[in-house]
């Protein structure tokens, strides 16, 4: 049983999804999905414990030896991503019943749970697999279910809205182009190496090959360069790196609150994980950063993305859209950390994946509470809500402080690592830009605080009350975690540092 944990982690939600469809009964489907999500969280925690104790775990599917069979390979980074993806999956699902009762038609609830489990399967599968083509399949599982989940935001009543449909369609088109680019990249790498296993491919890319009578390393051939170009563009599309983020704001704004919270916290982070795997495990950082100028490109794009997206967020009137633009900026911070290619920078990037997942998950759950009680996520409708829904508003403010990066919140830890990496690199300008962008975050968070606390509520809000406890508790678990990990960082930054050391192949 114990040695089959890696495959159980994937199989359990994968098998539970069709059961949800067969049950067709929303309470029972929720019970099954809830139990499965928490079970995957427990399994992921056990895996992380085993990886931290005994190092990398490999699991051969069906007993077929790698590199011929599909292999699951869990190192510190994989286990870390598995832990926070499954954890947020479980917490957000616990929040779901009352929120979707308001936002999704009752007869579609069992389908929501099935899609949610499939999306979770895909995201966990990407993080666990050691096989590139398997990664592509899991990527498509998670993406297809994500498109369907977003389209559930369209409804005929209370209040009617149909924009989710076009948002889902646009995401589908952009996501499929991104995934197909990744598929082209995988194909070209396979053409040169004859293997799909990531570890095996890494070895074979460093061997030499004869091209037109000239002997050169495989990773110097033009085919591999093209493969890497396709992969990095495809993955950047999936992780919504500026300027490939255009699908994200509409998708996050019009999806149901629960779906936004889940996808914003996990989907883009898992795409960042794919980028880390491709750069550091497969082609090697010296190839990506020394032979190719990926570090300079990532740095420029992420800095522009941080400033432009934060500024755009200031001018939004819909808070979900504002947080979506903020997500684009936060992806910029993560990419910035990768672009330093140093231990501090990479630690900052990995820990910010974790911290931002908690912060954005918590903020979007608080938005779910507002959407339930106010029936709207417009800034105008939130006037005076701080007095009517004090607990929800307070949770939002704590999350907002994390976005700014105030000390004693998780956001501060990430920014600390990023700024010290920038200073270590001698890039004062980058450090200054990170600090300035925090001020931009302060502006957009303050707009909400000011509206919620210091403006009079409109008349029709007289009956608005605090969100139900079943929704407040999951919100506070995530928001509380951002404060906890702002003070005690051994699990977040400590493990992230270990993962970064493994990726950079430096000994502590």
């Amino acid at each position: 049983m114990e040695q089959h944990l890696p495959v159980l982690l994937i199989i359990t939600p994968l098998m539970a999804a069709p059961f949800c469809v067969l049950i067709r009964q929303r309470v029972a489907a929720f019970g099954l999905a809830w139990a499965v999500c928490w079970a995957t969280f427990v399994m992921a925690a056990m895996l992380l414990g085993r990886v931290l104790d005994g190092g990398e775990i490999t699991y051969q599917l069906g007993g077929w030896a790698a590199p011929w069979g599909i292999e699951y390979r869990i190192d510190t980074l994989s286990a870390y991503v598995l832990l926070f993806v499954s954890g947020i999956g479980a917490i957000v699902l616990s929040f779901a019943p009352q929120s979707i009762a308001h936002e999704i038609r009752k007869d579609q609830h069992y389908l929501f749970f099935a899609e949610y489990l499939l999306c979770l399967t895909g995201l966990l599968g990407i993080s666990i697999t050691g096989d590139l083509f398997n990664l592509f399949v899991f990527l498509e599982i998670s993406s297809l279910s994500a498109y369907a989940l977003i389209s559930l935001g369209a409804r005929e009543s209370l209040p009617p809205t149909r924009r989710a449909l076009l948002a889902a369609f646009h995401y589908l088109v952009m996501g499929t182009i991104g995934a197909t680019f990744i598929l082209i990249g995988i194909g070209l790498l396979y053409m040169m190496t004859g293997t799909l296993n990531m570890a095996d491919m890494a070895v074979r890319l460093r061997e030499t090959v004869g091209v037109h009578g000239v002997s050169m390393p495989v990773n110097q051939t033009r085919t591999v360069l093209v493969a890497f170009a396709f992969l990095s563009v495809g993955i950047s599309l999936k992780m919504a790196l500026f300027p490939l983020h255009t699908w994200l704001p509409n998708a996050y704004t019009y999806a149901p609150s629960v779906v936004t919270a889940f996808l914003a916290a996990t989907a883009t982070k898992v795409s960042v994980y794919i980028l880390l795997r491709v750069i550091f495990t497969i082609v090697g950082s010296s190839f990506a950063f020394n032979k190719l100028p990926l570090d300079a490109e990532l740095m420029v794009l992420s800095l522009i993305g941080i400033v432009v997206a934060s500024t755009t967020a200031i001018f939004q009137t819909n808070i979900k859209r504002m947080l979506a633009y903020s997500s684009v900026a936060q992806i910029g911070y993560i990419a910035l950390g990768i672009s330093f290619a140093s231990l501090d920078g990479l630690t900052g990037a990995i820990v910010h994946m974790f911290n931002h997942a908690l912060i954005k998950g918590g903020l979007f759950l608080a938005m779910g509470c507002f959407a339930l009680r106010l029936g709207s996520t417009e800034l105008d409708d939130m006037r005076g809500v701080g007095r009517r829904m004090p607990w929800t508003t307070f949770a939002w403010v704590l999350g907002g402080l994390g976005l700014i990066g105030v000390p004693v919140t998780a956001g501060f830890i990430s920014k600390w690592y990023l700024i010290s990496a920038a200073l270590e690199n001698g890039s004062w300008l980058v450090a200054a830009l990170v600090l300035i962008s925090s001020l931009l975050a302060l502006v957009y968070v303050w707009r909400v605080v000011e509206t919620a606390y210091f403006q009079d509520s409109p008349q029709q809000q007289a009956e608005v009350t605090e969100a139900p406890l079943a929704m407040l508790i999951p919100t506070y678990i995530l928001i509380g975690a951002t404060v906890y990990f702002g003070v005690w960082t051994s699990l977040s930054a400590g493990v992230a540092r270990q993962a970064a050391e493994l990726l950079l192949e430096v000994t502590p």
Binding site: A154, L165, L166, L172, V173, I177, G187
Partner: protein
């Protein structure tokens, strides 16, 4: 000449890829976008199939003899890319089905599948 005829399949792949990509970007009709997306994906399928093929190679099935002439086969094509593409075709079909389902819902909600008209309707209060 060798660059053109010897890499015939790859030229077709690039041509189809760019055609599909252009249709996705340039067309405002949602169905045409899906058609473009399909052409784009299918070009990648061809790329995979082509790289597995060896001139004169046959399918790697045992026994390695022609069933009437009894001739022994020496070279075999790589079956793995074909297998991968079977999976990718399934994913492509699922994507297309989901996209068409979304278009049906969009048509029900807006009464049109022209992107410009949908966006114009959304701008109205």
């Amino acid at each position: 000449m060798k660059e053109i005829l010897g890499l015939y399949n790859y030229w077709i792949v690039v041509f189809l890829m760019m055609t599909g990509f252009y249709i996705v970007i340039a067309r405002r009709n949602l169905i045409k976008k899906v058609i473009g997306l399909n052409i784009f994906q299918i070009s990648v399928f061809l790329l995979y199939i082509t790289m597995g093929k060896i001139t004169g190679g046959t399918a790697p099935i045992l026994p390695a003899k022609h069933f009437t002439t009894g001739q022994e086969f020496q070279t075999f094509s790589n079956p793995l890319p074909s297998v991968l593409i079977l999976t990718a075709i399934v994913i492509g079909v699922a994507t297309t089905a989901l996209a068409l389902a979304l278009i049906v819902r969009i048509h029900e909600a807006y009464g049109t599948i022209e992107e410009d008209e949908i966006l114009a309707q959304d701008r109205e209060p």
